[in-house]
Structures are given as C-alpha cells and as structure tokens.
C-alpha cells in the first residue's frame, strides 16, 4: 500500500483531542494519533473499538484456576495420596491459596503477552517515529488522504483551528506497515 498521509503536530492534549474529534465528525479517515502519554477521551474521539484484552485475562485466569485445582486434586488424591495429619486426600479448602496465585499469575502474564502481541511490541523492534518529539512533548494527528473528497486545505484549516504547530504531507513506504514513514519529496 502506498498511502498518502496528512500530519498535524500539536502542542497540547486539548488541541489534539479537539482536532481529532472534529476530524472524525467531518468524515476524515484517521490513521492514528501519536501522543507522549495516554490522553483520556482520545479513544472515543478516534472512534476506536474497546480492546478485547480483558477476555484474554479472563480466559487464562479461569484456565489457570481450573488446571491448578485439577492438578492439586490429581497429585493428592490420585497419583500418590499421602495422609497428612488425617486430612482428606482431596482437601479443597487448603487448595484455595495456590489456586488463586496460579490464576493471578496466568491471567497477568497472558494479558501482558497478548498486549505485546497485538501491538507488535518486541525487543529489538526498530521504532519508526512519526516525529521524534512524540515520546517527549508533541501530539501528532495522522489523517489518510486517499479518499476522493480529501481536501488538504480544509484539513489544514481544521488543524489550525486547534492551534496546530505545523502540518505536512507524507507518503507511506510501499510494502511496509502503517507506522513506517517517508518524508514526502
């Protein structure tokens, strides 16, 4: 894909939030917004669907708990039952603490790994930043220029209404993913 993209660089959270909200209302296709910290309300402004990561957390937590109860039952009652102080082999209440710990461990680790997986974050990945200051103090709204009705001047005006610092147009490098940029000639 060889998309043309329109960038607006902002200085504050309120500006990028307002510009994003308005861009979406006016029907622009928003590629992404890059920010130095999590800006509250930006998900709604961009119209992002809520993440499904809680389901991963739930599923692995449940699996961890169920497997651990089964394992504790199997080791103490089936594989090698040992009489400990006359307690029943299958002493379920005593299994609660470890079951809980294993549930938390699996739920937590799986959620974090699923997060790294879905966001394609891995050690050694070469970051391709839309702007070097995006991890410091700049907010960047990226619009897709491909739709027939895209009017760069109108987009420029929209951004200026929200105190944009500067705007520019870029072309995505062919064959590479969304976040890889090339300066437009």
């Amino acid at each position: 894909m060889n998309r043309r993209l329109f960038l607006g660089v902002f200085e504050s959270e309120d500006d990028v939030l307002g510009a994003t909200r308005e861009a979406r209302e006016e029907g622009y296709e928003i590629a992404d917004v890059f920010t130095p910290y999590a800006v509250h309300g930006l998900d709604a402004a961009m119209g992002l669907r809520p993440t499904r990561l809680p389901w991963v957390c739930f599923a692995f937590g449940l699996a961890g708990a169920v497997l651990k109860v089964w394992f504790e039952f199997w080791t103490t009652s089936v594989s090698w039952p040992v009489n400990v102080g006359g307690k029943p082999f299958n002493s379920l209440p005593a299994f609660v603490p470890i079951t809980f710990e294993v549930m938390v461990l699996l739920a937590g680790l799986s959620t974090v790994f699923a997060f790294f997986w879905t966001c394609r974050l891995f050690p050694g990945k070469q970051p391709t930043l839309v702007d070097r200051a995006v991890t410091n103090n700049r907010f960047v709204l990226v619009l897709v220029e491909d739709s027939a009705g895209f009017d760069a001047l109108a987009a420029q005006a929209l951004c200026e209404k929200h105190r944009v610092v500067h705007t520019e147009e870029r072309v995505e490098r062919p064959g590479e993913e969304l976040r890889v940029w090339k300066e437009a000639a």
Binding site: F34, T75, W80, V130
Partner: protein, 456 residues
C-alpha cells in the same frame, strides 16, 4: 489545566511543561554519577559483600552457625523474611490499589515504590532459601515429576503456599514495573545521544512509538494488572501470616493475623518509601514532583495503618485475657514483661506511640522530622516480627525446655547484607532508569492537588 483552579496547589508544582518533565526526570541518568552516588553505592556494595561472605560461610558450614536452638527454631531469618516482604507491599499498594482509587498523586512515586517492591522481595526470598540449609536443592519445593514416586509437594502446607505466593508476587510486580517503564524507556531512547544508550534503550523499549491504539490497550492492561495485583498483594501477606496462624503455638494461632499482617506490611512499606523518597527528592532535586503534599498523603497512610496495627496489638492482649486460655495469657504476659520486654516496648513505642506525632500538620510537612519518623517505623516493624516470632517460641509449654535466643554475628551480617543488596539495586536503578514515571506524570500536569471547592 492549572488555570481552571487558580486557588489550589497543583499536584506537580513549578508549572512544568511536558518538555521540562522529560528534562528533569532524565537529568540524573544523563549526567555522570555524582560523588554522593558513588559514596552511597560503595557503602551498599560493601554491605552486600559482607552479606555474601556470611551467606557463603553458613551455606558451607551449615545453619548451626545461627543462634537457633531446639526451642527457638525460627528467629532472625524469618524475621528478616517477613520484614522485607512487608516493605514490598507499599509499592504494590501505590501502583495498584491507589490506581484503582484514582489517587493521581501516586504517579510521582509509583515507579520507585515498585522498584522498591521488587528489590525487597528479592531480599526476602534469600532468607527461606538459606534456611533450607541445602539451597542447591531448593527446586524440591516445586511440584515437578520426579524419580521418587513421583512424590508431590504438600499442597496443604502454608510454607508451600508461600512459595507460590512469593514467586507470583515477584513475577507480577516485575512485569507490572516493566510495562510501566516501556514508554519512558522509549523517551530516553529518542533523546539518546550515544549509540550504546540508543541501542540498549531501543532494545528494551520494544519499538514503542506512542500510537494511541497502543496506549488504549496499554491502559487496559494496566487496569487489569492493577485489578489482579490488588487481591494478590493482600493474599501474599495473608499467606505469610498463615505460616504462623495455622500452627498451634500460643501467640501465633490467631485469626486476627491476616489483616494485622497486611496493615503492618503497608505501614512498614510506606515507612521505607518515605525514607527513600525524602532522600531522593532532595538529592535529585525532585521537590516539584514529590511535593510536601505527597509527603503528607503518605504520612496519613502511615497513621491509618499504624493505628490498625496498634488496634491489633491491643486486641491480641484483650483476647489473650478474655479467652481464659492460660498458655495464651502467659505468652502475652511474657511478651510485655519477660526477658524480651525491651524488644516489645521498642516495638510499641516505634509503631504506636511515635507515629501519633503525624497527627500534627506542622510535623507532617517537615521533611526532616518525617524522615526520622520513617526510620523509626522501619525499626519498629522489624522488631514487631522479631517479637511475634521469638517471644512466642522461647518459652514453650514445657518450662524445662525454655531457652534464650541471641543472634550470631553471621545472622547479623546476613541482615546487613540484605540491606546491602536492597540499596545496591536501588542505587543502580536511580543511576540508569527514570525514577519518576514520565508518561504518567505528564498526564496529571496541572491537575489540582485536591478537589476544588466550587464557589460560583
């Protein structure tokens, strides 16, 4: 924005811009180490080396090098274990529980408090390991298929619960900490001037690019981990207290132990957070980030949890008398008036009496006094564990087997060594990683320190 609430102090003072936050937080890691850092680091490393020597000696010789005897089978090592685990709890309280309660002031201190948690749990883990006597067989506590049957571990034992609780706690805390670090590591990567720094921080920042699609999921993962870590941290000290409460030793066999231990853990942990933060803010000039408001908030948590601990002490005494159990009565009588009365009253004065000074705003807002009080809390909480463990054991049911307990030089050196490990890690952390979560502090810039009164 700051201008919305002109009357009230902001959470972060000094009217910082986003760029200033980055500069301020990165400054200590980008300039060379100061002589103060070297001094602190070398003292810590020396303590660590002493500890390594002591541990090597006791592992080679056997735990007969300790002052334990047939009556007092647990003493210094378990005291240190519970002490360090307790220290760790404040970090999780700040990162998880205060997050769920939307306490935005936590953002200035959560990074270092979480680091403290990880280092404290490392220190704690050493003690049960060396108490095993043959630490090279430590893997026997894990349920793995083996050629002895398979003979499985005993899932009904609180000591095994401890193994799972502590290792889960360490893993989840480390993951939580690293997750919070990723955006900040990317910030350092993007302002790095040397190739080495760029590649190291590039490796660990996982290619973070600030996309809001990533931030959205990141926030969710943070919320989920906070939700998991909250019951986890409560469970960890609950399980540590089960080590005592499920036994039939008078003085240990009480249902009050889980909440009593958890409150004590948070109490001691905040003591340590204050000790560290008061020095850090001064040395690294973070006064605008860790403000007097932050110190006050932590003091309030100390007085709340300290009061819970004080209530637990008196409840124990009341129940000992009210139960009409002669052994229970004797243990508590012995605690307050027996040979270890000095330890008991040290504990009471450090944990119950001196923290009452924090009721006064003048004292809460004076960093020097708060620093001294935080040290007092640390001492008091170490003694609490010592008192619970040693005074309950040293005079058991049979007067002919009563015994005394004195720690040996080896045991004391091991404790010093654990402090060495803790501070060595902390100094390295302060030198190489951002001590304040930039990505979180930037989000609360200009937020009011407290809820504004509406007059219009």
């Amino acid at each position: 924005m700051a201008s919305t609430y002109p009357v009230h102090e902001t959470l972060i003072t000094g009217d910082k811009t986003l760029k200033q936050v980055t500069e301020d937080v990165c400054a200590p890691i980008e300039r060379g180490p100061t002589w103060l850092w070297w001094a602190g680091f070398l003292v810590s490393v020396s303590a660590l080396l002493l500890g390594i020597a002591a541990v090597s000696y006791q592992v080679a010789t056997g735990i007969g090098t300790w002052g334990l005897n047939r009556t007092v089978g647990w003493a210094f090592d378990i005291t240190n274990f519970v002490f360090w685990i307790g220290i760790g709890h404040a970090g999780t309280l700040i990162s998880a529980i205060l997050f769920l309660f939307r306490q935005k002031w936590r953002t200035s201190i959560n990074r270092s408090a979480e680091a403290m948690t990880i280092f404290a749990v490392m220190c704690a883990g050493i003690f049960p390991l060396i108490h095993m006597g043959r630490p090279w067989l430590a893997y026997w506590v894990l349920p793995y298929p083996n050629y002895r049957g398979s003979l499985w571990v005993n899932f009904r034992s609180p000591l095994l619960w401890d193994v799972f609780a502590i290792s889960t706690y360490f893993t989840i805390s480390a993951v939580f900490w690293f997750l919070g670090l990723v955006p900040d590591l990317a910030t350092i990567r993007d302002r790095a001037t040397t190739k080495l720094r760029k590649s190291i921080f590039g490796l660990f920042s996982l290619g973070w690019d600030g996309s809001n699609r990533t931030w959205m999921r990141y926030e969710m993962v943070y919320l989920l981990l906070a939700g998991l870590a909250t019951p986890l941290v409560l469970s960890v000290h609950t399980i540590v207290s089960f080590d005592f409460a499920t036994s039939v030793i008078p003085g240990w066999h009480t249902t009050i132990f889980p909440p009593y231990f958890v409150a004590g853990a948070v109490f001691s942990g905040f003591g340590m957070v204050l000790t560290l933060m008061l020095v850090t803010r001064k040395v690294l000039r973070f006064e605008d980030y860790i403000t007097i408001g932050h110190i006050e908030a932590m003091c309030k948590i100390i007085i709340a949890t300290g009061s819970i601990v004080g209530l637990a002490y008196s409840t124990e005494f009341f129940i000992a008398w009210y139960s009409a159990n002669e052994y229970e009565r004797f243990v508590f009588f012995n605690r307050a008036l027996g040979p270890f009365a000095w330890a008991y009253w040290t504990m009471v004065s450090c944990n119950v009496i001196t923290p009452q000074l924090l009721w006064f705003k003048k004292i809460r807002t004076n960093p020097a006094i708060v620093f001294v009080l935080s040290l007092v809390v640390n001492v008091g909480m170490w003694f609490e564990r010592f008192v619970i463990i040693v005074t309950s054991l040293h005079r058991d049911y049979l007067p002919s087997s009563w015994a005394d307990y004195t720690p040996t030089l080896i045991e004391v050196s091991t404790l010093v060594g654990s402090f060495g490990l803790f501070f060595t890690c902390f100094f390295l952390f302060a030198r190489f990683l951002p001590m304040i979560a930039m990505g979180e502090v930037k989000g609360v810039l200009g937020h009011p320190g407290r809820m504004p009164h509406v007059h219009e």
